[in-house]
Symmetry: C2
């Protein structure tokens, strides 16, 4: 994984600090105090500067208290600077800012030192809206009742304030040291944060209330940072293409690259962007939950207790697992599932149709009420004392998801008349991207059979893009350009898609020529696979 | 007097109304509601438009309620438009705005219909700060005590709200119909209105807190008009050159004229601007109070009961007076005094030294404890049953003021190497300007002996300039240019000035060649005037 903040960022932070020594008043220079400040700011390239009327007396007092020596903090807005704060004298207290990944499941907070250009603290918390709706659609429906939208916003802002307060105090800082916040989230979450009505997002023709949000300030939302701090919320391109993905494109830098690249973000949906500096195309599909381990019976998020790595001895068929947190396992997360299925397939435990090969004599294969299942960890090895098993049904669900992912990738690439071979970089975003092993994902036919070095895990791209903007306001133009440039493709359920989808449910695919690097074990070619055998 | 709003104003009001029919949402156009509005506004030339975060939900509701037909009201700010309001449907309610002359004695309010481009109502009220200090310096000192500055601002804003409410309701309008306010006042009054500290205005080196005020909004000041209405307060050029005079220059149009012109505004001080479209020079001097009738014992403002016109029969020496409001007189205002002294001079009642000619046998000349006095109205003619007299002392005070005025005019003209003959237009601002008779003012040597058609009374130039800005935002650039162009000259008490001043205290002047049109009556050449006789 690359360093969190790329080195190509220009040193033009969203919020600038400048220390000024104003000319002293004199009979020959009767310029007013504020205009004296304005004149000096202009000489430093800050022009025009807007002053908040209700902060004027504070600003004027600081000028006199500092004996015309002041430290100014300025934020860039659409077409002007705004004076965020003015402090008497040459002030050396830290200049901080928060970048926030506003996920529908989790919120990730990054506290940055803008002058040192580094992340000094980060944390993530569960989205407090989950009790009102596990998925975003339920929350939108919930928000339709009187007062509920305010409730959803309130709980979000409370969590923001609780979390940022802990981080600020933990570092020995004050809320007044935090001069900016940037937030990247999907379209609905961004609406919730700003108290906007998301009702039309899920109703044809699926229009958000706002694509490009006006610049908010901390005071407008009651955020417990400097009251005049700008709060920049990433714009969206539509109901299904949110600011998190715009931030992801920024983080991947694909909009500046000559090379063709693809970005995949697996969350509630699988979101895919393909393009380069000249064009960008995007689409989204329901491939996510199963891949993240959310649908499979013993599936779970990549949290302590989750199996995230699996190897299976091809001879003994015994699995060896790695568990996050080095604990006894309670479930299996997305990357664990991918490993498991790839290894089961390679060991011949799974057929190319994704069925457990019951002809193999192994104590690991058990008969259950749901049909045959593979015991990943036996009762004495697990945290809850139950066998941790994966059934045919689980695998079937998972294969549908991996097929959806591969189909989306195929469709978007062919939409623009290209093939996978043209892709120079394949970025995988999210925690999911951090944990999956591309070699395993290729083996099960979830992602194209490209050289492994093509794949790059980017981690939290929403949080990273948001952090990058804090350090380089030039990215505001990038964002503007991305938004105007990107084409969002609606994936219609048509015949071509269905055929693709059916073939992709196999391991790795009904057309093994698509995965030349995958050696299909003889044992996996079980009954009913004669057509595949013939094609081989 | 010219029409209140000159015809050369461009039709680009400070606040624009535009009725829009937005494209309806469609699967092929998934632009957000707000962005749909923004796109349409841009097509109408409004770009960029800033939206107030806390008004966003109101705006979004109006778009949907109006079925994507809306009426937008926009205000121009430094480098962007701001959406003041959005109303569902095509709204035809009136678009109003207030122009305010923020005088230290009186506040004048003008209610304008911006679309019809006319003043629909006007009124003036006493400045509510007067109880805290008759003159501005007393108020500045009063404001130094804790809480007093807030008190002075509060009483001003309360008077604003009471007066505008009456005018709004009197016209059958609502406060939400009023979308802008522009205010022109002197530097100190503008500081008081905005709650800024004026303490440094009267302390060397005489620096205002602010020259160019940030744009306020009605909500910032609690003004009872539309809460998002911009409140534009005219900038000042220094402590002694306020926004009222900038507005005056606008109203006179002298900054756009090729011809050299001079503007005189008599208020607390006499303020003078000289120049044309290429340069402007200004100065101020303490010539005001006496000219406005404020110092002479029976002097008063030009209100009902004030004698404002006087003619004296040269044979009977009997005066005939006009009284404002056609009532019995209680005092005499500035224009009345000028008439009176000019007529007394012409009738030979006053000598060229400005002394009552006691050698003339007349029942109108009485001996009082203060020396001789002229009875303008006898006890039976006045409202208070007292003789209305003007004494030698009164006349002496008045002549000092008229001399100060003439001296200021002489000094400023000679400063730039010009003479009175170069002046093409002589504007006289203020109520004072409306009432004085230039022929009379010339006769007493208060203003230069120019052709009478050179003189033009402009009325309330501060109110007029403020009103003009509401109808033509292009004047913002004029204001900017005036402020950067104008040179303010400090009138130092030097020998040249003192000599000028001494000569100017005579009637019309010790050097009668400066007033060739004035026929000095033989009787006025009394004792001790031999040198003048010789020069004649």
């Amino acid at each position: 994984m690359p360093s969190f903040l790329p080195s190509w960022l220009a040193n033009r932070p969203l919020v600038e600090t400048v220390r000024l020594e104003l000319a002293l008043p004199h009979l020959n220079d009767n310029t007013g105090d504020l205009d004296r400040l304005r004149r000096e700011l202009k000489q430093h390239g800050f022009d025009p500067v807007l002053f908040h009327p209700l902060r004027l007396n504070h600003v004027l007092r600081q000028i006199r208290e500092g004996g015309f020596k002041v430290t100014a903090v300025l934020g860039w807005s659409e077409c002007h600077w705004e004076l965020i704060d003015l402090v008497a004298g040459f002030d050396e207290s830290p200049r901080l800012a928060f970048a926030v990944d506003l996920g529908s499941s989790r919120l990730a907070f990054y506290l940055l030192d803008i002058e040192k250009r580094e992340v000094i603290e980060q944390t993530s918390v569960s989205n407090p809206q989950i009790p009102y709706g596990e998925d975003i659609l339920t929350r939108i429906l919930f928000a339709r009742e009187d007062g509920n939208r305010e409730l959803l916003q309130r709980c979000l802002l409370d969590t923001f304030n609780r979390t940022t307060k802990e981080m600020i105090e933990g570092g020995g800082f004050s809320r007044d040291n935090v001069y900016a916040m940037s937030v990247a989230g999907n379209t609905t979450m961004s609406h919730f944060l700003l108290g906007l009505n998301p009702a039309n997002i899920c109703k044809e023709p699926y229009i958000p209330a706002v694509n490009r949000f006006p610049l908010f300030h901390a005071r407008d939302l009651g955020l417990a940072i400097h009251s005049c701090a700008p709060v920049y919320v990433f714009p969206n391109v539509g109901s299904y293409f949110g600011g998190d993905l715009i931030a992801g494109i920024l983080a991947a830098g694909m909009h500046r690259s000559e090379e063709l690249s693809i970005l995949v973000d697996v969350g509630t949906n699988a979101e895919v962007v393909l393009g380069n500096r000249d064009w960008l195309i995007a689409c989204a599909g329901a491939a996510g939950p199963a891949l993240e381990g959310g649908v499979v019976e013993r599936g779970m998020m990549a949290l302590p207790g989750a199996i995230d790595r699996v190897r299976i001895d091809p001879v003994t068929l015994k699995p060896s697992c790695h568990v996050i947190g080095e604990e006894k396992p309670v479930g299996i997360c997305g990357s664990g599932l991918i490993d498991l299925i790839a290894e089961m397939f390679m060991a011949g435990i799974l057929t190319i149709q994704g069925k457990l090969n019951t002809q193999i004599p192994s104590s690991r294969i058990a008969a259950t009420a749901d049909g045959p299942a593979y015991i990943v960890a036996s009762a004495d090895e697990t945290a809850d004392g139950r066998d941790l098993m994966v059934s045919d049904i689980d695998i079937g669900i998972f294969l549908k998801s991996k097929a959806a992912m591969y189909t989306i990738l195929t469709v978007i690439t062919s939409k623009v008349g290209l093939s996978f071979g043209d892709i120079g970089r394949f970025f995988v975003a999210g925690t999911f991207g951090n944990y999956i092993d591309p070699a395993m994902a290729i083996r099960i036919g979830m992602i194209p059979d490209l050289p492994l070095e093509t794949y790059q895990a980017l981690g939290n791209t929403a949080g990273r893009g948001a952090a990058m903007l804090l350090l380089d306001r030039g990215l505001l133009e990038d964002i503007e350009r991305i938004c105007s440039q990107i084409t969002y493709v609606e994936l219609n359920v048509n015949m071509e898609l269905m055929n693709e989808f059916r073939g992709a449910q196999f391991l790795p695919h009904t057309d093994p020529r698509l995965f030349p690097s995958v050696q299909i074990p003889e044992r996996a070619l079980g009954a009913g696979t004669s057509d595949v055998k013939q094609r081989l």
